[in-house]
């Protein structure tokens, strides 16, 4: 007789293609109860969330804008996790980058963006590195767990920013706790007219490509991955484990810092204590959904941006509480992650 059995081994291509669809369907079923309770139709909710944004040019532009910071933090987390260094501190490192960018953008007296913007990026990268330095050193020299130190430093950074903006940096014009506005030369050019897509998007893509090249094609990259996969063996092979962990952690912090620069230079034009809406934490999600690969990170950043953009209109169009967006995003994330497992199985016919 002939029976089917499920076993390990990569799934056929056609099946992988429909996995995202499966994820959406399952999520749909799971959250439709909530949507109905809120008095809306699940179908229209998902249409607003996943389809509608793609049908409007402005919304498509918004998606690029929203993907920019989470792509950067996602890449930052990817680098660190690849080294087996669990940097949950991208949030704080982002703020560090923002501070540096705002400082350069307000202090450096120049008319030339060509001079100003690169300096902001460099300063932001360095600031992010510096904020990532302490936990990295503690990890490499004292074996102090980085998850908790980076996590805690996020809170510390928020207080620091708040102290800065309530104190020496308070905007003399509005008196609101935000830095003075950065000079015109420091404001990122807008790429798509009547949209907020700014230079940061290009920066993010370039960073992503560079990191992709480094991780897959360079000695440093493979050494970092070796350390991430098996520290003892990596050490046996003569790789300076501590040094590689340190480097990966610092690069990660620097890239997260760039996300801060991009938000200050491209969105706000000043430093504020609300620079990020959890971009650092979303970076962890982007990186893991992307399976710690750069192409994966790019895709998941775009996808999360799509859902984020959809959520903005959805709550108004259907008038349901705005939090429905968060719920559906979270559900999509978890279900999506779970359905990715299907990649690893195939159904075989045996007799």
């Amino acid at each position: 007789m002939l029976k089917l059995r499920i076993e390990r081994g990569s799934a056929p291509v056609w099946f992988r293609a429909i996995i995202p669809v499966i994820a959406v369907l399952i999520t749909f079923i799971l959250v439709s109860a909530l949507v109905i309770v809120a008095g809306a139709s699940p179908l229209s909710a998902f249409f607003e969330l996943l389809i509608n944004p793609l049908t409007k040019t402005t919304a498509r532009a918004d998606i690029l804008m929203m993907a920019t910071p989470i792509l950067l933090t996602g890449i930052a987390v990817t680098v660190a996790f690849a080294a087996g260094y669990y940097n949950i501190g991208a949030e704080g490192q982002l703020y560090a980058g923002g501070i540096a960018a705002a400082w350069v953008g307000t202090q450096l007296q120049t008319e030339s963006s060509v001079l100003m913007i690169p300096l902001m990026l460099i300063a932001g990268f360095i600031a992010g590195m510096l904020w990532a330095l302490l936990p990295a050193i503690l990890k490499v020299r004292l074996q102090v767990d980085e998850v908790v130190t980076t996590l805690l430093l996020n809170s510390v950074m928020l207080f620091l920013v708040s102290a800065l903006l309530n104190g020496p940096w308070r905007d003399p014009v509005s008196g609101w706790p935000q830095s003075p506005t950065i000079l015109a030369a420091a404001q990122f050019p807008v790429l798509i007219p009547r949209s907020r897509v700014h230079l940061g998007a290009i920066v993010a893509v370039i960073v992503a490509l560079v990191i992709w090249w480094v991780m897959s094609r360079t000695r440093f990259g493979i050494e970092v991955r070796a350390v991430g996969k098996n520290r003892d063996a990596a050490r046996f092979l003569g790789i300076p484990v501590g040094n590689r962990i340190l480097m990966a952690a610092l690069i990660s912090g620097g890239i997260a810092g760039l996300a801060g620069v991009s938000e200050v230079g491209g969105i706000h034009y000043y430093m504020t204590s609300t620079l990020s809406s959890n971009f650092g934490y979303i970076g962890v999600i982007v990186a893991t959904l992307g399976a710690l690969t750069v192409p994966g990170a790019i895709l998941s950043a775009l996808f999360l941006a799509l859902v984020n953009r959809g959520a903005i209109s959805a709550s108004r169009e259907l008038d349901v509480p705005v939090y429905l967006g968060d719920v559906i995003q979270a559900a999509l994330l978890l279900v999506g992650l779970a359905t990715l497992l299907l990649n690893r199985y195939r159904i075989r016919r045996i007799r």
Partner: protein, 317 residues
């Protein structure tokens, strides 16, 4: 109104549970209930670029007559969009000035009733220590606290006012602990800029002042009164202007002050009897002087004592 209602949209950066935006939402909801406007809103838009997206989409797709909201933390975005849609009236809470042709600004200018509350606090305190618990030291909070302090010290020179900020618009548990710390330090009357403080006053059988809305029903034995903000006058004025087609960008400050009924001292309820008559008389007289424009309460937006911060050395700009 016989002509059909105006279409009004409101964009709030915080959730509408937050008292500041709450006041705007309540007033607009009231106007909607009267049938004067069709009201839609979106809240918890946040501060990371979404405000502009929401405003543009609404302006494009529903093109309402008026858009209310708070621009704090989103000033540039709001002003950019307002510029692009001159036919829509933008009326936003803001720390900056109005912009022609179509951006009006307002704010919670309730320092006057805060000052009056201070007069009461300064008179009734026995320990001579008055406690204040606030969210963040932003101008909107500072000037209320400073006016309150002005009132306290006017009637009671040696009274000291202790101010604590919990660095959050919410977290009532932290507010409670902050208030308790004040009580432990000897404060016998509390000003509750945030929620959580009144409970502590009640537990310790002390008196407290609410803020932003009439909070007497939270603890009738405890809440004497407090500054109340009412967006009604502001909204009415704007709607009239728009209906008359005479709308322009203005600073609507006055409509949030006592003279126009935008600010007031919450009713005293039982405390009409409890409080010393002379004190009440003095407060009522001062209240009258203010509404008649005969008395000015200082507007001081510097961070008050109790949370001392270094001298305002500002960078750049």
């Amino acid at each position: 109104q016989d002509e059909e209602p105006l279409v009004v949209f409101a964009a709030y950066a915080t959730p509408i549970e937050e008292p500041w935006d709450g006041v705007i939402h309540v007033a607009l909801q009231a106007a909607a209930d009267e049938g004067r406007i069709e009201y839609e809103y979106q809240d918890e838009i946040g501060y990371s670029g979404d405000m502009e997206i929401v405003l543009r989409e609404v302006a494009e797709e529903t093109a309402p007559d008026v858009i209310f909201g708070d621009a704090f933390g989103n000033e540039e975005a709001v002003r950019r969009v307002a510029r692009d849609y001159p036919d829509i009236a933008f009326v936003f809470g803001s720390g900056l000035g109005p912009a022609q042709p179509n951006l009006s600004v307002f704010d919670n200018w309730i320092h006057e009733p805060a000052y009056l509350s201070g007069l009461i606090a300064g008179s009734v305190t026995e320990s001579g220590i008055v406690g204040v618990v606030g969210g963040y030291p932003v101008p909107e909070v500072n000037r209320i606290v400073n006016a309150f302090i002005q009132g306290v010290t006017e009637v009671n020179e040696e009274a000291e006012v202790r101010v604590t900020f919990i660095n959050s618009w919410f977290d009532p548990a932290a507010a409670q602990e902050a208030a308790q710390a004040q009580v432990d330090a000897g404060a016998d009357i509390l000003f509750a800029e945030r929620f959580g403080v009144i409970d502590v006053a009640a537990e310790n059988e002390l008196w407290a002042f609410g803020n932003m809305s009439d909070q007497n029903e939270l603890a009738p034995e405890t809440v004497i009164t407090g500054p109340v903000w009412d967006m009604g006058p502001t909204i009415d004025f704007v709607l009239d202007q728009v209906e008359a087609g005479s709308y322009t960008g203005l600073d609507l400050k006055d409509f949030s002050m006592m003279a126009y009924g935008g600010a007031s001292l919450a009713p005293l309820y039982g405390f009409e009897q409890t409080l010393d008559a002379d004190l009440l008389k003095m407060v009522r007289e001062r209240e009258q002087q203010i509404t008649d424009g005969l008395f000015r309460v200082n507007i001081d937006e510097a961070t008050p004592n109790g949370a001392v911060v270094p001298e305002n050395t500002t960078i750049g700009g």
